[in-house]
Amino acid sequence: MTTLTALLPTGLLSWLGWGQGPARTTAAAPPPPEHAVVAAPVEDPRPVVLAEGLRHYEDYSEVVRLQLDCVTEVTEAAALDILKQLQGIDCALGDLLTFLREASSSARVSQMMTQAQQQIAAGRDTLDSFLRSRSQEASSEEQQLEEVAASARRLNDFVEEARSIARRTNMLAINAAIEASRAGETGRGFAVVAGEVKALSQRSDELAQRIGSGLHDLDSIMHAAVEAIVSQAAARERENIEKISAAVGSLMDTLEVLVAHQREILVKAQQENEHIAQPVMALMGSIQFQDITRQQLAHVGRAMAVMNGHVARLRAAVEDPSQTIDTGSIQRELDQIFNDYVMARQRHAHTEVVGGDKEEVGPAIELF
């Protein structure tokens, strides 16, 4: 039968107070002097202490196993919470990206430009309508002035008629004077009347000429007035239209700059948003560490249980010396622990302590 100290790891023996040297218990007491009276043999207390220590180890390993379960539960809950938060962020980023894509799309900008152009075209139509209305009003004013000028020309005809009458009256007066001269003394009075008639006809002609001249002046003034009204109004309106046109052009330029600036901002925001989305996705992948840790902790828990079983058997052997101890069991259990590993890193850690060939790690991604 193998001694117990040979089966237990050095660390465990030290923890139990059972090192390779003298034990810390009564075994460390100095030997009795030679002349002393030999007392009755005292029962060796070490098996009892050892069994008690092994029982504590079992309890302690159970505590550790429960702590590992607790760590797994807590990290899993935290990982799921982080994933939910990440999904929330990702969802919000997705919504924002969709909005930004729609807002900064060429179709959207074209739509805005088209709307602006339609509004400006509507403004121009209103302006044209105003101009047509103004043109009609100017024509009406011109027509009225033309009618006044026509009336003046008609008066001129009357003046010509008056002058014609004056000329014929003058001829008549001349003829009357000739006939009065032929009549001699009897026609003298008639000659005086003829002279008066002639003077009146000449006076009438002079007045008619003055009226005609006045009417001619009036006609000129009216033409000048019509010309002035129409051309000046047209010039003023042209000037105003040019101002309005310049303002509309400036408005369009400003609008295009504004739209371009807005598009630039949206594209930039879109790019930044995509930059943020990438690490969010990467974090979703990185959170898989929790599953890896969970599997590692689960294996540590299983290894603790195996060791616990071994320690329980050792304790049973201590408490009942008649029991035999299977010396190969610990190696088989260690082999079982090795075979249960789920990743190369675990096997590397194992072989670094207990020895063995280092495993060759394959590629992280392999397609068959």
Partner: protein
């Protein structure tokens, strides 16, 4: 029609991580938490375009799931990937013999995962 991918893992964290990455890239996702549940779902008529399974999952592990799924009608050429912490050559060979299309070691980042999916399901 987006590609539907069945993901099989006993870890809620893994399922949520994979679902997030896949759905973000426009794939449909069907989840199963064990080999048995996945096999029952496939047998029930669900026909994904790709299967991604963990290795260590209790009674029916990922390799056994692939082996059984390959026997179902219509699943002979379906791409099936192993996604596991394990990287042993012997296990890879076993998975390959069972009908696995490829082997991915956890953790897998989104770009790498999507790259593999596009390789095994061209046009997805």
């Amino acid at each position: 029609m987006p590609l539907t991918i069945m993901i099989v893992d006993d870890s809620p964290t893994m399922l949520m991580s994979l679902e997030g990455m896949l759905s973000k890239n426009g794939y449909g996702v069907v989840k199963a938490t064990s080999g048995e549940q996945a096999f029952a779902t496939l047998k029930g008529g669900t026909k994904p375009g790709l299967l991604i399974t963990d290795l260590n999952m209790g009674a029916m592990d990922g390799i056994e799931l692939i082996r059984q799924a390959r026997k179902l009608p219509g699943f002979q050429f379906l791409p099936m990937l192993m996604l596991t912490t394990e990287s042993q050559q012997a296990k890879r060979a076993e998975a390959k013999a069972a009908g696995a299309t490829g082997w991915l070691v956890k953790p897998v980042q989104p770009d790498a995962l999507i790259g593999v999916i596009k390789q095994v399901v061209p046009g997805s």
